[in-house]
């Protein structure tokens, strides 16, 4: 599903974010990317939805070399990739239901489809009763659930999560992990960058460790360290 081949990424010609990294992720896998800040976890994720371009090496997503993907096709790549972030990136002037609907609306889904899909996904993430609240009326965990709902409403092949529990307390984080696990069980490949030792150790999934841009460990059913 995902393959990095000797990928090197250098920011502004000097900051080495990834160095000769190679990694392959199968369909339906759940992968943790761990490592200290600045080790290249975010870059790894940003390369996958072509927010960044590799300087050397090749990146494959769903069998396609996305380095060779013309820019007008990038939006269609991203429709197959859901994204979740530490800071949620919800639109503050839209309600929960509007935030999720927005993601479908802007890729051209008709209103009739949106009307069915959005309540269903909000049901899945457990926010049916807060559909008409604004993000600032929700707790951090609830906001992250909205963001996951938005990322998953289009049933993407891959879900990328960059420190999704970074702003949440341990209990709330566990709830989010349960949700991501459920999504993974539907067959969606999940790649999650995290600092959260507790979660990684508890979940016992594949762990890819990065250090100063290099993959130093790749272990199935691994722990944080």
């Amino acid at each position: 599903m995902i393959k990095l081949e000797n990928v090197t990424k250098i920011y502004k010609g000097e900051v080495l974010a990834l160095q000769n990294a190679s990694c392959e992720v199968q369909r339906g896998e759940f992968v943790f990317l761990v490592g200290p800040s600045g080790s290249g976890k975010s870059t790894f994720i940003r390369l996958l939805n072509k927010e960044e371009q590799a300087d050397r090496g090749r990146v494959f997503v769903a069998g396609k070399d996305i380095g060779a993907l013309p820019s007008y096709k990038v939006p269609f790549l991203r429709r197959n990739i859901g994204c979740v972030f530490q800071d949620f990136k919800l639109l503050p002037n839209k309600t929960v239901v509007q935030n999720v609907a927005f993601a479908l609306e802007v890729i051209g889904h008709p209103r009739s489809v949106i009307k069915v899909k959005v309540p269903a996904i909000l049901e899945l993430v457990g926010l049916s009763r807060k559909m008409h609240n604004y993000p600032d009326e929700l707790s951090g965990g609830e906001q992250q659930r909205v963001s996951i709902a938005r990322a998953f409403v289009n049933r993407p092949l891959i879900l990328l999560a960059d420190e999704p529990t970074g702003n949440l307390d341990p209990n709330t984080s566990l709830g989010i992990m349960t949700l991501l696990d459920r999504i993974n069980r539907t067959g969606t490949t999940v790649v999650m960058a995290t600092h959260d030792r507790g979660i990684v150790d508890k979940m016992r999934r594949r762990v890819v460790e990065l250090d100063r841009g290099q993959i130093v460990r790749d272990q199935s059913r691994g722990v944080y360290e």
Binding site: P75, R78, I81, C83, R150, N154
Partner: protein, 293 residues
């Protein structure tokens, strides 16, 4: 489609003052441009009319002797190249000056009939400007002739004057139009900035660049379009003013100083189109830079 309408409307609400300033600038620049082009057309038309009845005027020395004047008259009568001529004596010339300068009596007071030259107004057979010039040249060198003025000379003078004038107006209009484009660019940039979160999310979930672009380009397009639509009636008013010039008897020289209504319409539509184009391009450039960041 629904989305585009909603987004465009909300962008307008967000930036009412800037939008108004932009529309006013577009309107002023397009009105000036339209008026200048109209004026040029009018001058062209006036000149065309003149060419039909080309004549030249032989002004004689104020103190010309009776013999010399009679001699000139005979030459005109005998020339096969002259269809007809009219003799304007000093008193008639004075009456004409009085009429032309009716608005400024102090000037009329200075002029006396004695000081004005008598003249022959000549209608030549051949109205080709070159032939007229040749014929005029024959009289220019005659004794007792002060000056020979061909109609084409007068017209050329008017043309030069008006072209200089309308050229300047056109330059001002173009500068204003560029200013309008910059204003539109800036308005759209601000709209983009205030919606940067939405755009970030749109890019994230895979909205195409065109989908993101269209509401903003619509906004620029509408600003230009509305500016153009307001300019259209203003251009009509300018045309009415031209008609007033045309109807003014004292400006007989400018007879035919009019523009066909169809031409005014098409010019109006061209200005509307130009406004819409400027708006679309201005916003398009703003978005291009924003999306490529």
């Amino acid at each position: 489609m629904d989305y585009v309408v909603r987004e465009t409307a909300s962008n307008f609400r967000r930036n009412v003052t800037l939008t108004l300033a932009t529309i006013i600038t577009v309107t002023i620049s397009l009105t000036l441009l339209g008026a200048a082009l109209l004026f040029r057309d009018a001058v062209d038309n006036a000149t065309v009319r003149w060419k039909d009845g080309v004549e030249f005027i032989v002004f004689m020395d104020p103190d010309i002797s009776v013999e010399l004047e009679a001699d000139l008259r005979r030459q005109l009568e005998e020339s096969r190249e002259v269809v007809d001529f009219i003799y304007i004596d000093k008193d008639e010339a004075y009456a004409e000056v009085q009429e032309l300068l009716g608005d400024s009596p102090e000037l009329v007071d200075v002029i006396t009939a004695e000081r004005l030259p008598a003249s022959f107004r000549v209608k030549p057979t051949d109205t080709l400007p070159e032939r007229v010039d040749q014929l005029a040249e024959v009289f220019r060198t005659q004794p007792g002739v002060a000056r020979v003025v061909t109609a084409s000379e007068t017209i050329r003078a008017i043309e030069d004057l008006s072209r200089g004038l309308s050229q300047r107006v056109i330059i001002i209009a173009i500068v204003l139009l560029v200013a309008a484009a910059v204003l539109i660019w800036n308005t759209i940039r601000m709209a983009l900035f205030s919606r940067r979160q939405d755009i970030e999310v749109m890019k994230l979930v895979g909205a195409t660049n065109w989908f993101i672009r269209v509401p903003f380009m619509m906004e620029g397009f509408i600003q230009g379009l509305v500016g153009g639509l307001i300019a259209m009636p203003l251009i009509w008013l300018t045309n009415n003013y031209l008609s007033i010039i045309n109807d003014d008897v004292s400006l007989e020289l400018l007879r035919g100083f009019m523009v066909d209504p169809a031409r005014v319409w098409s010019l109006g539509f061209q200005m509307v189109g130009l406004g819409a184009l400027v708006g679309t391009v201005g916003s398009g450039v703003a978005i291009r830079r924003f999306l490529n960041r």
